[in-house]
């Protein structure tokens, strides 16, 4: 998250007391974090739904946040629960569809395969390069924002993007 832990915890405490401004800032920061968290775990077409479902759970279960504890571990627990629930729904739906012999020929398979392949390639990159490419080339952050988020200098972010993309291209060519 861009905001530090102490700030987020304070915002969550204020939100519990009904402070709308603090709540808006908190949800904004939570959304950005959730997008990064779920991006590696789900397909792009399901990402927004999953983020919004989790934000809705944050909203409904705000009372379960303990103000004396840090905010992020609470958000991670909520996100993880929603993710497991999401997977369970997908598998149940897939099972239902199979049992009813209603498998649709027009699936998102190419998109999913592309995504999985990209994630596999990403795993072959060093963390710093992965992060820089994700933030700037996928999430659309500016170099300055990515630098602030990762703690890397702006020039290092640029270098990491350049080297990462070069390495990805080489991996793809190699097949």
């Amino acid at each position: 998250m861009i905001a530090d832990e102490a700030t987020l915890t304070r915002l969550a405490g204020l939100a519990q007391r009904g402070d709308q401004q603090a709540y808006a800032a908190l949800l904004g920061a939570a959304k950005a974090w959730l997008q990064r968290y779920f991006r590696r775990r789900t397909t792009p077409c399901q990402l927004d739904d999953l983020v919004q479902e989790t934000l809705l759970s944050v909203h409904r279960k705000l009372a379960s946040f303990e103000p004396s504890r840090p905010f992020t571990p609470w958000l991670v627990a909520i996100a993880r629960y929603r993710y497991v629930d999401h997977l369970r729904l997908i598998y149940r739906r897939a099972e239902d569809e199979l049992s009813a012999e209603q498998v649709d020929d027009h699936t998102d398979e190419p998109q999913i395969t592309a995504r999985i392949s990209l994630e596999r390639l990403f795993e072959l990159l060093p963390d710093a390069q992965q992060r820089a490419i994700e933030l700037v080339k996928i999430e659309g952050l500016s170099i300055a924002e990515a630098s602030q988020s990762t703690g890397q200098s702006e020039s290092l972010v640029k270098v990491n993007i350049h080297r990462g993309l070069k390495r990805l291209a080489a991996l793809i060519e190699r097949g």
Partner: protein, 214 residues
Amino acid sequence: MARNSEDFIAGLVADLRPVQPLRQSSGMGLAVLALGCGVAGTLLVFGPRADLAAGRPDALALLGSGLFLVLALASAWAAVDMARPYVGGRREGWGWTALMAATLPLGALIIIAAAWWRGSPSGLALDGANCLEFGLIWGLFTAAALTLWLRRGAPSLPRRAGLLTGVAAGSAGTFAISLFCPHNELIHIGIWHGLTVVLAGLLGRLIVPRLIAW
């Protein structure tokens, strides 16, 4: 669901109302109250054990009741805490208490095995099933209180929360019924009272997760 995420967040912000954070003390208060209801129910319906009423409690029965009471409180504490999720937290204290209480059924099993080895009667009487039955019934107060509490919160590990709810309910019910149960033998306390906790834990693990899903 996907709407414009700015609009979505604006909708949540507009819907914000002040909320009272879930306090561990409130949850435990509820659990202790439920345990008290089970104890009151036992004493009102059956009355206390003769030795308790006479002010000369049996040492082993007292020890057994104490162990189940501590297990009820420790597992209720962990279950109450599970309503407030966070990653990285450790709620394993109840496990040590459960191990301590497990010395009762283990001791009973050793005595039964030794009797079997010698060819003597085991000493296990089937009338102990009454303790199991009423232990489960009086534990329902605790089960209901913890389930309601968990429904208010956001338990992120529902199966473990269910198991803890069951163990707490079984231990609370066993503690309640032990105030009436006239048996002082380790075999009875270890097998029948211990079995109540195990069975309640399994039932909690099976039933509660569906009730606390969010």
